[in-house]
């Protein structure tokens, strides 16, 4: 391998030089996640911050440990493990025992990311798989939602007698209960996973990322638009469907992962539509109330095929038997 100079690329001018690198991009993502973390701390209390810090520490530690054991150069400086940790923390309920969160971090970093070769080689978003493994493996603790007096009255009304566990809006919709108002949904005064509750804060982060050109709007916009259109088709309230559950978090921060999403704009639009379609199909027809993570995982797996279908003409192989002279 050593003789191959893959880093020496010969191309014609002009050569564009950008200051962006992995660490700067990941730093921007972390900054964009701060508003949602702030809302989470406001709604759920300080435990939310503790959980976020723990997940980041576990992810960075596992990344460091695995790279050391595998005798590869260390990559914790690129902050990608910290981003995975924070996004995973956003995907779990605030009261989840810390050791279960550590199991999720292990699956995300060690199994999904490093065993496949580290950043850039993972076939799926590490945080998504970490969340799904926890969701299936620890079904009870992963669906025990904290409530407190900061939340919407509608949430408090359906709380159990001991008044410590409540339901998410999507669960309440499935059970046919009175729902929180759309404004409460948008601001995030509801129960749910740590970072998914506030659509407003997540949108703020998303706008920051788009302005900084860290992500392209293609995936979030097509994802959210598909969810809204399908809500209307199924006769549901589109604002509610957009603000409930993990749609905002998934569309802005998880579906846009560079490694696991298509590279062309048309591919990204197909990817976003697919995510929205599967999310709504799972919400409406499946036994789980929420399907964002499954939808994104499924589209992650389809990404290589989308890339092949949407490849620019110039990069496509010549048609069989008709090579140009």
């Amino acid at each position: 391998m050593a003789e191959r100079h893959t880093d020496l690329i010969v191309a014609s001018a002009p050569h564009v030089c950008a200051p962006a690198n992995t660490a700067s991009i990941m730093r921007d993502v972390l900054i964009a996640l701060v508003p949602a973390l702030a809302v989470s701390v406001y709604v759920f209390g300080i435990r939310s911050l503790v959980m976020a810090v723990c997940c980041i520490v576990f992810c960075v530690f596992f990344e460091w440990l695995v790279r050391k054991i595998m005798k590869r150069d260390n990559t914790i400086g690129d902050l990608s493990a910290a981003v995975t940790g924070l996004i995973l923390a956003f995907n779990i309920p605030v009261r989840l025992p810390i050791w279960m969160a550590a199991v999720g971090c292990f699956i995300a970093i060690v199994v999904v990311k490093q065993l496949f070769g580290g950043l850039g080689q993972n076939f799926a978003n590490p945080a998504i798989v970490g969340r799904i493994a926890l969701f299936i493996g620890f079904a009870g603790p992963m669906a025990s939602w904290t409530i407190n007096s900061r939340m919407s009255q509608a949430i408090l009304d359906v709380a159990e007698i001991d008044a410590t566990t409540g339901a998410t809006p999507l669960g309440m919709l499935a059970a046919g209960q009175t729902l929180p108002s759309n404004l409460e949904m948008f601001l995030g005064l509801i129960s749910g996973s740590m970072g998914e509750i506030s659509a407003a804060a997540l949108l703020l982060g998303g706008i920051y990322l788009i302005v900084r050109k860290v992500i392209s709007p293609a995936i979030p916009v097509s994802f959210l638009a598909t969810v809204a259109v399908l809500s209307l088709v199924f006769g549901l309230d589109p604002i509610f469907q957009l603000c409930a559950g993990g749609v905002m978090l998934g569309a802005i921060f998880m579906a846009t992962d560079y490694v696991t999403s298509p590279i062309t704009t048309s591919g990204r639009i197909i990817f976003g539509i697919g995510c929205g379609l599967f999310t709504m199909l799972i919400r409406v027809y499946a036994s789980y109330p929420e399907g964002v993570s499954f939808a994104i995982l499924l589209m992650n797996i389809l990404t290589p095929h989308i890339d092949r279908l949407t490849r620019h003409k110039a990069f496509k192989p010549a048609p069989e038997g008709g090579a140009a002279k």
């Binding site: 391998m1 893959t6 279960m100 493994a133 299936i136 620890f138 009870g140 603790p141 290589p304 890339d307």
Partner: protein, 226 residues
Amino acid sequence: MKKTKLQILTNGIIRENPVLVLVLGTCPTLAISTQAINGLGMGVSVLVVLTCSNIMISALKRIIPDTVRIPCYIVVIASFVTMVQLALKAYLPSLDKALGVYIPLIVVNCIILGRAEAFAGKNSVIDSALDGIGMGIGYTLTATVMACIRELLGSGTIFGHAVTAGTITPFTIMVMAPGGFFIFGCLIALVNKLTKGKVKEKQQNKCLGCPGAALCSHVQEGGAEE
């Protein structure tokens, strides 16, 4: 190079472990290894069938016409599977119930047909018996170890005895299909590590078998140069 009797016996345990190195009979192994007792029961059933069918096929190898050998092997294997199944039904009905369809499916288990084709059809009766016992032990060990790990992590018990159950919430995904594949992969990695340098390089065309080859810029024919 002629192998000694001991080598034939021990071949199947690690070096040519039917599940982890030859990657045969994966489906029943993944399906039944949710509880240690099932893994052990399935392993012993396969051990018995494999040994008996190896002996029988080796003894009959001059009588069986080459063109219809596969159906003949299947008939021999199916007879032994039926015996094992009836014995289980009579003496261990709960195990029979737990293993369900996977006992009759031993008939089409690749390990048994594979050893009949690759070994018993060409070697003496005693060698075939030793090969069957060795491969059977390899299979039993794999299924049992895999099932122990999955049962411990997924239910908190080993052979039904509580280890961590009640104190730690079990990670139930381990007794489901994804956990099975995960432990399977970990064990293959472990065996590759243990047999480092002894097992032949299996993949000659490293890149060409990869589904991502069409998209990959590093793709090259004939495998990566090292």
